[in-house]
Symmetry: C2
Subunit: 244 residues, 2 copies
Amino acid sequence: MSGSCFAERLGDFLALSSAEHDALARLEERERPLRRGATLIRENDPLGELFILRKGMMMSYVLLPDGSRQILRFLFPGDMIASSAMVYRDSPETVVALTDSIVCPFERSAMATLVTEHPRLAALFMVLAQMERVALTDRLAALGRTSAKARVAALLLEIRYRMRPTDRTNGDSFVLGLTQEEIGDATGLTAVHVNRMLRQIEDEGLITREAGRVTVRNEAGLASAANYIDRFTGLELGWLPAAR
Amino acid sequence: MSGSCFAERLGDFLALSSAEHDALARLEERERPLRRGATLIRENDPLGELFILRKGMMMSYVLLPDGSRQILRFLFPGDMIASSAMVYRDSPETVVALTDSIVCPFERSAMATLVTEHPRLAALFMVLAQMERVALTDRLAALGRTSAKARVAALLLEIRYRMRPTDRTNGDSFVLGLTQEEIGDATGLTAVHVNRMLRQIEDEGLITREAGRVTVRNEAGLASAANYIDRFTGLELGWLPAAR
DNA sequence: CGGTAAATTGACCTGGGTCAATAAATGTGG
DNA sequence: CCACATTTATTGACCCAGGTCAATTTACCG
C-alpha cells in the first residue's frame, strides 16, 4: 500500500521517485468519509478544495433547465475530483457518492506547489487530462452517432474495466451498482429503453444478469456491439521530463 | 503583435512574464501552411509533433465503423492541436483545415522543457485542459439531453463566440464556414434535419441567413434556445504559482 | 412485514432519420 | 466571362428508433 491512491494511479504509467511519492502523499493527508447518496459538490456552488477519491464509487452530472440530467463521468479510486476548481470559482457539475466513499481534500495551492516542485508530475497531470479528454470524445461520438444498444454496451464495458483494478471479485462478473435510470442519464436514454437494451444484450447471449450482478458471457461480442476502442495500450510517455 | 498566438491566448488570463513570452514564442518558430480541406493528422496514424494553430479554422473528428462521422471540436487561432500526442503514439482523431490555415509544429520534448522551466505555464496548460474538458461536458449534455433545435442553436453560438476575437467584421453577423452536413456531424444530426432546424430558428426571428452569412437577430432568444452557459466569466486563477 | 425504490412490459406516439427530387451556389477549364 | 460539373441547400413524403404512459412485478430497507 503506497499510502496514496493517486500515486498508485500515476504509478501505472511510470516509476515514481520517492520525492514524487512523498509529494503526492501530501495531497491525501486528510480523509473525509461520504455516505452513499451524499453530495460532495453541488452545481454552481463555490468550489473550495480539490479531492482525490480514495475509496468507493462516485459520479458527476449536470442538470438541464428542463430537469433532465446528464451524467458526465463515473469516478473510481485514484481519480481527481473537482479539477474544475483549477479554473472556475463555481462548480460546473454536481458530484455525489454512489457507494459509501472516502475522499481526500486538498487546497488549490497544493497543486501550485506540486507543479512547481515536480515538473514531471505536472506533465503527468497533463497526460491524465488528455486521457480524460479522449474518454470524453469517445463518449461524445457514442452519444452523437451510435445506437442505444451500442451506448449501453459501452457503458457496461467502461464500468467493468474501470472497476476491475479495485474489484477483488475478478473474473467475468461484476456488480454494476447503477440503476437503469442512472445508466440512461449517462447514455442519453430513458430508463425504459435501457431496460429493453439490457434485455436485448442478454437475449443475444452477450451478458447474463442476476440481482444487479452482470456477467460478461461474450466479451468480444460485447466489445464489438459497443464499438469499443482500447485506450489503455499504445501510450507514448517517453517525452516526459526527468523526475525530481 | 506578440509573435505567438498561443501567448496571446494565455495572455487573456494573466500577464505573462517576458521569459514566459519567449518560451512560448519558441513553440511557434516554424510555420506550415495548409490548404482548405488538407488533412494535418489522420486517425490512427502515428503522432509526431504538436501544433499551435496560428491562422485559419480547423476541425477534428472521428469516423465510426459504420462510416458516420462525429466532429469533436472546431479549432481557432491560439488552439493547441494534437495534444493527445502527450499520451498516445497514434492519433485518436483526424484533424483537417476548414479554411486555408497556418500551423506551427513543435516537438513533444519542447513541452517537457516548457513545463520544467515555467511551472506557471504548466499550470496554465492544466487550466486550458480543464476548460476544454468543461466545453466537452457541455456538448455531451447537449447531445445526450437536448433537442435538435437546441444543439444547432448552441453550435451557432459556439462558432460565433470563438470566431469573434479573430473576426474583424464584428457586429451581429458572421460567416459560419460550415456545410449543413458538418453542422450535423458536430451535433449528432443529419444534414436534412439541420436544414429544418436552421429554417425554424430563422422563422422564429432568432437569426437571418444570406449566402453562408448568419446574422443574430435575437441573441438572448438564441442563447435561451441553446441552453447557453457562459464559461468565460467566473474564472478563479488566483492559485497559480509565481511566474519565472 | 409493510413500504418504497427499481425493474419490466405492453401499447402507443413522435422527433428526427431516410429517400428522392429540385434548386442554388461554387468552382473549373477554356 | 461563360457553359458545365459538382457540391450544397431545400423540401416533401414516409418510416422507425427510442420516448411516453401506465400497469405490474420484484428487490431492497427499516
